[in-house]
């Protein structure tokens, strides 16, 4: 397929690998903050190609995984209201809230529809004017402009039965929070390629400037990732720290100005809770006052609908889940006692296993050694 196959050529990987080996003279930790990168790294066997000195860590790059249980709870209580049609991206259906999951609610009769694009939520609102259509808006900067543009369209057309449960987050502040926590040494970031098509390179500048850590904005094909790792090591070897764009065919330094303007028009920046990382200031998006009538939290009294206590059996099921540590990169899935035992893609306990781009789901699917070899106690 054009503009994919060319970046998978083996012979070019074979040229890059010796260059990477040359530069990997000491142990380095490189972190990706994008679920799609985590999957690509596993899918193309990149870890096995690299010298042992290079450790690739997965950070909080999956917007599904970092959505806190409280947002799911809100979606659930809304879906239980008569006359509400809850609309969501597919991956959110199995993410655990504090007392239930959307897929369980649907099985019990709640009106919940899975869509691929936020545009479908608008179409449903127009098609069913008597229903209150609520869209669970999850995603980083790649997705939030698409939601913003639909919000503008709903406003323009004066659609009164479409609401947004807004849970959008911003990636660069999470990268800063990880560095501030000092839990692990990160020597370089693979920056998310498609988020960067929207935001450009400037939002990452604080990382080399304030922390001295190299950043490379990477594409998703194997050659993109290998070249990005090479560029990170090269910066480190030369004592440099800057934001470089490897994914030049898709990322401009200024990003997508139209998308940024749409975001600015509809949203303002607010603090936000992240599963695993807690509260991060200025890391989320909130609807501006002009669009308040589309904000489900300002229109419905959600506090009165939410249950006051978490059921005991739910708390017991999730005990031991290491999603928080996994999202921060301090533990890996095989270290979780639930991994591949009580928590599998078929019966996921934690968010990292639910999402197709979650770190645990990816390990389970591709890291065959964990599945086939017996795990010793404490391993």
């Amino acid at each position: 397929m054009k503009w994919l196959d060319e970046f998978r050529k083996r012979e070019l990987a074979e040229k890059l690998l010796p260059k990477i080996e040359e530069l990997a003279r000491e142990p380095v930790n490189i972190m990706d903050v994008c679920g799609t990168h985590t999957v690509a790294i596993f899918r193309h066997g990149i870890k096995d190609m690299l010298p042992a000195n290079i450790t690739l860590l997965s950070g909080p790059g999956c917007p599904v995984c970092v959505t806190p249980p409280s947002e799911i709870d809100k979606a659930i209580v809304l879906s239980r209201q008569p006359g509400v049609l809850l609309v969501t991206f597919g991956d959110m259906m199995r993410v655990p809230g504090n007392f239930s999951r959307l897929e369980n609610e649907r099985a019990r009769g709640a009106q919940i529809k899975v869509v691929y694009s936020v545009q479908e939520a608008l179409n449903l609102a127009m098609k069913y004017p008597l229903l209150k259509v609520v869209f669970l808006a999850i995603g980083f900067e790649t997705t939030s402009p698409t939601v913003a543009s639909v919000i503008m369209e709903a406003y323009r057309q004066n659609i009164l039965n479409l609401f947004f449960l807004n849970a959008h987050k911003l990636i660069p502040p999470a990268m800063g929070a990880l560095l501030d926590s000092k839990e692990i040494n990160i020597h370089g970031f693979l920056c998310p390629g498609h988020v960067s098509t929207i935001i450009g390179s400037r939002p990452y500048e604080f990382i080399p400037q304030d922390y001295g850590i190299p950043c490379v904005i990477s594409g998703f094909e194997p050659l993109d990732i290998l070249q990005s790792i090479y560029l990170l090591l090269k910066q480190r070897t030369e004592g440099e720290a800057k934001v470089e764009i490897q994914y030049q065919r898709c990322v401009k330094p200024e990003g997508n100005i139209v998308a940024q303007q749409v975001l600015q028009e509809v949203f303002e920046i607010d603090g936000s809770f992240w599963r695993g990382l807690g509260y991060i200031p200025r890391s989320g998006l909130k609807l501006r006052e002009k669009y308040a009538h589309l904000d489900v939290e300002r229109v419905f009294d959600l506090d009165s609908l939410l249950p006051k206590e978490i059921p005991q059996d739910v708390r017991e099921e999730t005990a031991g889940c290491l999603c928080g540590e996994i999202l921060r990169g301090t533990e890996s899935p095989p270290q979780c006692p639930l991994f591949a035992t009580t928590c599998t893609p078929y019966h996921p306990v934690g968010a990292c296993m639910v999402s197709s781009e979650g770190t645990c789901a990816t390990y389970y699917k591709y890291h065959y050694k964990v599945i086939t070899s017996p795990r010793k106690r404490g391993e």
Binding site: M1, K2, W3, L4, E6, F7, L12, K15, L16, K19, C34, G35, T36, H37, C62, P63, V64, F89, D91, Y116, S117, V118, Q119, E120, G139, F140, T142, T143, P145, T146, S149, E153, P192, G193, H194, V195, T197, I198, F220, L223, Q227, Q246, Q248, R249, C250, V251, K252, N256, V258, A259, V262, S355, S356, E357
Partner: protein, 69 residues
């Protein structure tokens, strides 16, 4: 998810386009990328075109990789 696939624009009608990716034809919204033409390649994400693929840059990246010894 940053899932975005390269897709070729085959028809434009207002703020919508018909795009082709891997033999499958879909509709894409051009609200975030108004300046495109038939024949351009774009990154498709959740039903929207979010950025154009710059052919020259793509070829330049490949050229750079080819030139490594």
């Amino acid at each position: 998810m940053c899932l975005g696939i390269p897709a070729r624009i085959i028809k434009i009608e207002g703020d919508r386009a018909e795009v082709e990716a891997g033999g499958i034809i879909q509709t894409a919204l051009l609200t975030l990328l108004p300046d495109v033409q038939v024949g351009d390649y774009v990154i498709l994400h959740a039903g929207f075109a979010i950025q154009k693929i710059d052919e020259q840059e793509a070829l330049e990246t490949l050229r750079l990789l080819e030139s490594l010894n």
